[in-house]
Amino acid sequence: MHVLPYLIAAYVFVIGCYGLATSRNLIHAVGCLAVCQCATYILLLAVGYRDGATAPVFSDIQPGSRPVVDPVVQALTLTDIVVGATVTALLLALVVQISKRHGTVDPDELRELRG
């Protein structure tokens, strides 16, 4: 249990990389990159977790009444998710542009075109 979240994060990262390397469709590759990003969220939040603690949000509990988890990593992850989504959008825009210019979204065919 003490290392399980870290191992899951590593597993998700590796499986995402595998999908990225073996992908035959650039849209699928962008999805695999999103999977890789998930690994960073899992890792960051696992680092900040504390047993028996609750969220550091004091709108409905008294400050100091319960132990709280680490807010710094949560803030990092939070912005990461929204910015990650727009970066995904940018990559998808690139894929659309590639499909327009070369008529395919298969990385292997693209390599042949380049010669």
Binding site: I27, G31, I42, A53, V69, Q74, L92, V95, G103
Partner: protein, 88 residues
């Protein structure tokens, strides 16, 4: 008890990530990514990070699927010569 639910959420995320990689068709992958987003939101909630969970739900439930599906639609509307299945 709290640990058990964390383990369940972690295993669901790992399963969803695997499914998202092995489904090679972008449309099917988008469906799995949507479920992966929901599983991640559950994981973030049990990790006591509701802010992050909200962020994931806002992005993963509608925005990412919409972006991927629009990209798929645009790519598939290419002329039939490219080998993609064209307009229905």
């Amino acid at each position: 008890m709290a640990d058990a639910v964390v383990v369940i959420a972690l295993l669901l995320v790992a399963g969803a990530a695997t499914a998202a990689v092995v489904n090679r068709d972008p449309v099917r992958q988008a469906l799995v990514l949507s479920v992966l987003g929901t599983a991640l939101a559950v994981l973030f909630t049990v990790d006591q990070a509701p802010d992050v969970g909200l962020s994931q739900l806002a992005v993963g439930s509608a925005l990412t699927p919409l972006l991927i599906m629009l990209a798929v639609r645009k790519v598939r509307r290419r002329p039939a010569e490219s080998g993609e299945d064209g307009e229905k």
